[in-house]
């Protein structure tokens, strides 16, 4: 048995997420302009793009935090963009999400943060919950002592690991990562990358990450999609994207100031 044991249900594995023609504007400013992307079940897809280019907005559409002006968000075949809030909550129980700054509830300690989804959505006993929380914290490399700390006492890297322990508490079928390695030192970046790969390999969850960290993206991704001006301009395996001849993709991959994208 792996470090991240599957649930008893053999069908409980990743489900596909498909975005079709997503459009979204904020106060007249177009952020998503007909974005389409298939994130295959049980694979890791990394969406690359510049800061402020609509990556976070895309992620928020997948989990129903934002509703598109037009287009569909199909999660396991259900269009979450059209679901009423009550049904959306049902679909959300299949999701886990690691937020950029972990978004731990600062009124609760580490233990209660990780236990929260279990208390909300399962009928497990106190002992069972305790066992799962401690196991999950160990999986992300945190000791039992850390469970009594409050989020404000943790470093950025520790917060992310607690956020990941919380995100996987319910064995989600889709895990979303918002800039999982931003603000971390190179060693912690590698720790998070390794955790992402382990979680994926052993739970079979569909993983979708947004990032501008190229090294991390090429390490963890089965598929890379390049988001630019509200559309996916390139997608494929890391090897295919690496060979892309699209001038914007090339400028991004090579980290050049000059090119089709002009900042100043």
């Amino acid at each position: 048995m792996g470090r991240f044991p599957r649930t008893d249900d053999p069908n409980h594995t990743g489900i596909p997420v498909e975005l079709r023609g997503l459009r979204k504007s904020f106060r007249g400013k177009k952020v998503l302009d007909g974005l389409s992307l298939l994130c295959e079940a049980g694979r890791t897809t990394v969406i690359l793009g510049r800061s402020g280019g609509g990556k976070s907005v895309t992620l928020k559409h997948i989990v129903g935090l934002l509703r598109p002006d037009a287009g569909e968000v199909l999660v396991g075949g259900r269009d979450v963009a059209r679901l009423p809030e009550d049904e959306l909550d049902e679909v959300r129980q299949d999701f886990g999400m690691l937020f950029q700054d972990a978004a731990l509830l600062d009124s609760l300690n580490v233990f209660d943060n990780v236990a929260l989804p279990l208390r909300l959505h399962t009928k497990k006993s106190k002992e069972e919950i305790r066992e799962i929380v401690i196991r999950n914290l160990r999986l992300v490399g945190l000791s039992e002592d850390a469970s009594l700390k409050t989020p404000s006492e943790l470093s950025g890297g520790m917060r992310k690991r607690v956020g990941l322990a919380r995100a996987i508490a319910l064995r989600p079928r889709v895990i979303l990562y918002d800039e999982p390695t931003s603000g971390l030192d190179p060693i912690m970046t590698d720790v998070i990358n390794a955790l992402m790969m382990d979680v994926q390999a052993e739970t079979g969850a569909t993983q979708i990450a947004i990032s501008h960290d190229l090294a991390a993206a090429f390490k963890v991704a089965h598929k890379i999609a390049m988001l630019h001006e509200g559309k996916i301009i390139e997608e494929g395996t890391p090897e295919e994207v690496q060979k892309s001849q699209d001038p914007v993709v090339r400028q991004f991959l090579e980290g050049r100031r000059h090119g089709p994208v002009q900042v100043v």
Binding site: K60, V63, G64, L65, D89, E90, R92, Q93, F95, M97, F99, Q100, D101, A103, L104, L105, D106, L116, P117, L120, H121
Partner: protein, 274 residues
Amino acid sequence: MSTSAVEQRGSAVLSLLDTLGGFLLDRIEDIGRYFRLVGHAFRSVLFRPLRVKEIMQQMEFVGVQSTGIIALTGIFTGMVFALQTGHAFRQFGAESLVGGTSVLALVRELGPVLAALMVTGRAGSAMASELATMRVTEQIDALHVMAARPIQLLILPRILAGLVMVPALTVVFDFVGALGSYFVSLSVLQIAPGSWWKNVIEFVGMDDVNKGLVKALVFGFILSSVGCYKGFFASGGARGVGRATTESVVYSSVLILVSDYFLTSYQINFAALE
């Protein structure tokens, strides 16, 4: 006038209308969002489990923890009101009216309004800043993603606490204020205790207390719902948190004072009809 000058003036008018229209639309959207949030919060009473622990925590925060400051402001309000009315009534030799006047003013007006304003400053602002911080640090988004029903978890307990605790604190304010008035009447104005009591009993009925408590209920709803609304929909980092907090206090205070006039007017006319 040349054609270009007409065009220029036309476009200036259009841009003014555009700005004005945008402003009005924003306000209408604000009001719509506010009522939707409050509606969601009340509807969430129907969902199980009801967050009893969070409701109790908020009652404790809004009510119990405000008792000291309410007692302090209440006693001084009663004292100063007795002093002022005593000084004015002495000119007509009517000091015996101090008890009835000050207690009536406390239960019908000063108690609910001042208690609500104090709770706005203490708890309404805290609701706004706490929720706004949770919003800008994505904690509210995280609750949505965990299907934790953040409106039921965060908004409902705060509004219930406002509805229950502001009337309760008003009773404290009224009682302590009356004590202040009694103390100043006896010690400074040299009014006989029997005369003070007789006058209070003559002037103030249970009906007056009830009218004050109806006001307190409305004010409690205003300060908690506005604090929650401003916090829940905050945006823009630390500055956004600051703005949400300030706006919640300003909007709540203004709404409390404006609604006080209309409630008083309604209560007086209603009494006249009876």
